[in-house]
Assembly symmetry: C2
Amino acid sequence: MLSERRLEVLRAIVQDYVGTEEPVGSKALTERHSLGVSPATVRNDMAALEDEGYIAQPHTSAGRIPTDKGYRLFVDKLTNVKPMTAPERRAVQNFLEGAVDLDDVVGRTVRLLAQLTRQVAIVQYPSLTRSTVRHVELLSLAPARLMLVLITDTGRVEQRMVDCPAPFGETSLADLRARLNSRVAGRRFADVPQLVQDLPEAFEAEDRGTVSTVLSTLLETLVEESEERLMIGGTANLTRFGHDFPLTIRPVLEALEEQVVLLKLLGEVGDSGMAVRIGHENAHEGLNSTSVVSVGYGSGGEAVAKLGVVGPTRMDYPGTMGAVRAVARYVGQILAES
Amino acid sequence: MLSERRLEVLRAIVQDYVGTEEPVGSKALTERHSLGVSPATVRNDMAALEDEGYIAQPHTSAGRIPTDKGYRLFVDKLTNVKPMTAPERRAVQNFLEGAVDLDDVVGRTVRLLAQLTRQVAIVQYPSLTRSTVRHVELLSLAPARLMLVLITDTGRVEQRMVDCPAPFGETSLADLRARLNSRVAGRRFADVPQLVQDLPEAFEAEDRGTVSTVLSTLLETLVEESEERLMIGGTANLTRFGHDFPLTIRPVLEALEEQVVLLKLLGEVGDSGMAVRIGHENAHEGLNSTSVVSVGYGSGGEAVAKLGVVGPTRMDYPGTMGAVRAVARYVGQILAES
DNA sequence: ATTGGCACTCCCCGTCGGCGAGTGCCAGAC
DNA sequence: GTCTGGCACTCGCCGACGGGGAGTGCCAAT
């Protein structure tokens, strides 16, 4: 087990390295932090920390930099989330309250997050799996062609074309629309399949094919929509990544274009509701030299989607975590209101 | 006026520089191109071209690189759009035909364009100003709260909340819905305002406030939607910009995040239907070392939106222009079919 | 356990010189 | 007049060299 002071040394190394971007040596450490011991002592501690794999030297006779394992310990035990200041919080709230619709909320959130953390921000659109159906609308475009419109309580609208196996009369259409809505309006997404299961039986034989088609399109839409869309921003902050950055930045940009990767990235959220993935903890190779801080957000108690930031492993974890958490909280509020 | 051979030399310089990314000298030129003259002669021509401002030397006693003016001349007079090969065209068509909805079409287009040109691709969503209304739907969410859903012939759906000044009955709602659709369905966007102008008069006094509110929301939506959304892709290609690229890339990334800038960028389209903006011809400062190739595309004869790519001024203009034009053509086809 | 001292290791940075590619100009050839 | 070969010159690139500095590991003393 590492002694109290050694942990203190590790904390100091992380803080200094994050600030200066340069390997930190024993002498510099004792000058900037009042550890109450001499450089020589710190050197011994550093040697121990290096043996344990928390820090490393880029070259012999250079200062130390934290390893992924070192950052992990720092995040888990050596620091707390740094809350944002009151003025900052007010600014966040004001900015988000100006949003006029869902796209705007997400757009503002992503810009805000990028600006606050000076990193790349990712915001997932509110998920539908936990949302409820507000309304299902059916429109007749042609005798055997319908349009299905799904409206959710988070304000999203999705439409799908439906090609019917047989012509479908206006009366049947109104009937189906009414029955469908009385069953699913206000219900949770996940509950919809069983609620509509026996619906075709209520119709004449000739219409059943169409009803089934409509239903399966509806269910498809639900599933598809659970695969979330997302918005990213602040990619210009990638230029602050480091000196060797042409090598680092390319895989990151590539990863950022793959929705699938990003969705996985936001991934499972940890205990405190916030997940921090450091360097190689990220499954995706291109992101092995980045860290991801993500958190769920939602209008009610439950999380309906996630947001987060991607930055260099050398990032200000407490500050970033504070900003991410605060933004998530306020977005949740805004969504609950609208 | 520049002699024929001097233009030939300029063409050779552009081609070589685009290929090698290095300043090209007189000797190398005569070796790679059979100009039929000696390096010394080429040197004289180069001096003349430099006097006219078509090429420049990065440093004394280095080779020459084309200036923006040189590229301009090259694009205007010295080269033709390079058509894509038949297999390429087939691949493009196949890839685009797999799209299931509008988002997918745009998404595929942007990826395709980025891949073909190995540059950053920008695709504007089909514009609504020239589109027609397919259907307007009104839903009652609460006694004094409606949802307006607008469906266009390009498959886009937009929804807006409407807070009514007074409660609005189901009967009135059905009435309004019917009247609205009979007037605007199938009509062009631009014609809608005058078509609905006198609609409130058909209603009872108590409902007129609500009807007016609904109408103004509808008109707002039309206008707002004319401000187009767009999608970008291939940002990873920015890493191929050049050696000094940390300086170049940042303003480009910043510009790419500003929709307004990008929309302006796609800008006015030239004679051949294609616009090429080279270096400083771009109004936006951050893009002074990039070129933009853009073209309109549309389902019918008319262009409904634009697409294009952003790359270094040192780009393969003929190839890029060919790819951009071909993609625009096929996207237009796909849109016309759906 | 901590400390001061000391020798050692490397990176960083500025200097220097040779090499090579390229230029401009000039005198001669066609 | 136009083109060409020759020639001196200019610079950027690159590897070698070397001092300075920051940092390390180890050891003996407290």
